[in-house]
């Protein structure tokens, strides 16, 4: 069903400020410029088509990201990525113990190296990468992340803790190699 002119205007005004963020997330997910562009384009097309059913007053950013993420998950790259991470026990925040493998010094050293952080992010499984990006890059609240990923807030917290632990582990490993 085609949107009327006012509704299409509203969609444009809401969605275009998110364009750069969505593209950044898309390329983090796909790890490829061409695929990222396709993903963003398809997501915008889907979002425009479905904007009539978007509930005003709910979180548009989370809604847009959800569309992008679902589009990614059903893509070839997304389906491949989904097989590479195990998310068992993630509903139990207590299952994540504080990491003891890294030292503050090693992390601070790694901080100086943006490439090391980017490389670590790239190595993370998609589910961990996306939740860290949503929280730390997009600065979404746990509630927004829960909406975007369609998971409960408790799962957001536990998955985020596991993702950060994995990230710290990767950075500590990089630091170890550098030493």
């Amino acid at each position: 069903m085609a949107l009327d002119r006012d509704k299409a205007n509203e969609f444009e005004q809401l969605s275009m400020p998110l364009f750069a963020s969505l593209y950044n997330l898309a390329q983090w997910l796909t790890q490829d410029r061409g695929e990222a562009e396709d993903l963003v384009q398809e997501s915008y097309a889907k979002a425009l088509k479905g904007f009539g059913s978007f509930q005003p007053g709910t979180n548009f950013r989370a809604w847009m990201y959800r569309i992008l993420r679902n589009t990614f998950l059903t893509s070839r790259t997304g389906l491949k990525a989904a097989r590479t991470v195990s998310l068992e026990d993630e509903d139990d925040p207590q299952s994540v113990s504080p990491s003891t493998t890294e030292t503050p010094e090693s992390i601070l050293l790694a901080r100086a190296d943006q490439d090391a952080i980017q490389a670590a992010l790239q190595q993370l499984p998609v589910a961990f990468r996306e939740i860290i990006l949503l929280c730390d890059v997009e600065e979404m609240s746990y509630r927004e992340i829960a909406e975007a990923l369609t998971i409960p807030i408790g799962t957001v917290m536990s998955r985020l803790a596991r993702a950060r632990k994995a990230m710290r582990g990767l950075l500590a490993g990089v630091q170890g190699v550098q030493r």
Binding site: L3, R5, A8, N9, F11, E12, S15, M16, F19, A20, Y23, N24, A26, Q27, W28, R33, A36, E37, V40, Q41, Y44, A45, L48, P93, Q94, V96, S97, P98, P104, I107, L108, A110, R111, Q114, I117, Q118, L121, I132, L133, C135, D136, V137, E139, S141, Y142, M157, L160, A161, R164, M167, R168, L171
Partner: protein, 250 residues
């Protein structure tokens, strides 16, 4: 609460997701615990670093334009605008063609009416207005047998203001026809009868009163024949005579 428990809450604390009361408690703990404050500092630095490093990919400006134009209602407006423009152009062409047809029809009509008016005027000016002089319809009608490729009925005029003067053969656009002459209160009426044709039908239509050189003209079709009355008599006289012809034909 042990340091291990506090450290599990540091992420939520840095993400500003810890409830207010716990935030105050953790604040107080961090001021006194070196291990936990060091952990919090490290994680805070990492969070900030990820925030910067995570903004790695910048879309191509051309790609932005492409997306913008694909969702912009202005663009879709322009797309529709293009269709509307083509539509207007098509409508204009159709209008021109239709206008030309109307103009052609009008000029054909004018030409035919002009020709018939000339025939009527020529009859009025002639010393011998008709070739068969008779007020008897049973004399006039048979006179046309073999002369025109059709037959027609002359109406009964008894008790009417009309008088039959007679008739003669005539030609319109090289087609033979009959011209009957009537009078009504000193006014002369010519009734032309031709075999109807699509050309005549297109040019003259039906039931329309026309005027040419102050003559009133009315045309109609009945039984495959084209009838035309030309006269300086009134409209009601024309209608009356027409009704009599229509009745006679049925």
């Amino acid at each position: 609460m042990t340091c291990e428990s506090w450290q599990q809450k540091i992420d939520a604390y840095l993400d500003a997701e810890l409830p207010e009361a716990e935030t105050r408690e953790l604040d107080a703990h961090l001021r006194t615990c070196t291990s936990c404050s060091s952990q919090a500092l490290t994680r805070s630095e990492l969070k900030r670093s990820i925030h910067l490093a995570g903004k790695k990919f910048v879309p191509d400006p051309e790609f932005r334009k492409r997306i913008q134009s694909s969702i912009s209602p202005q663009t879709s407006g322009r797309r529709w605008g293009w269709i509307v423009e083509v539509g207007i152009a098509c409508a204009a062409v159709v209008l021109v063609i239709f206008g030309s047809l109307v103009w052609v029809r009008q000029s054909q009509r004018q030409q035919l009416v002009g020709e018939l008016t000339d025939l009527h005027v020529a009859t009025l000016a002639s010393a011998n207005r008709v070739d068969v002089v008779s007020s008897d319809r049973h004399t006039v009608k048979p006179w046309f047998q073999g002369k025109v490729p059709f037959t027609f009925n002359v109406p009964e005029l008894q008790g009417s203001p009309f008088e039959l003067v007679g008739g003669k053969m005539t030609y319109l656009d090289q087609n033979p026809g009959a011209e009957l002459l009537f009078t009504v209160r000193k006014h002369v009426l010519s009734v032309f009868i031709f075999k109807d044709s699509p050309e005549l039908d297109r040019a003259l239509g039906s039931g329309e009163l026309m005027r040419k050189l102050s003559f009133n003209i009315e045309s109609w079709t009945e039984g495959g024949l084209r009838f035309l009355i030309i006269t300086d008599a009134t409209r009601s006289d024309i209608d009356d005579l027409r009704a009599r012809f229509v009745q006679a034909a049925r």
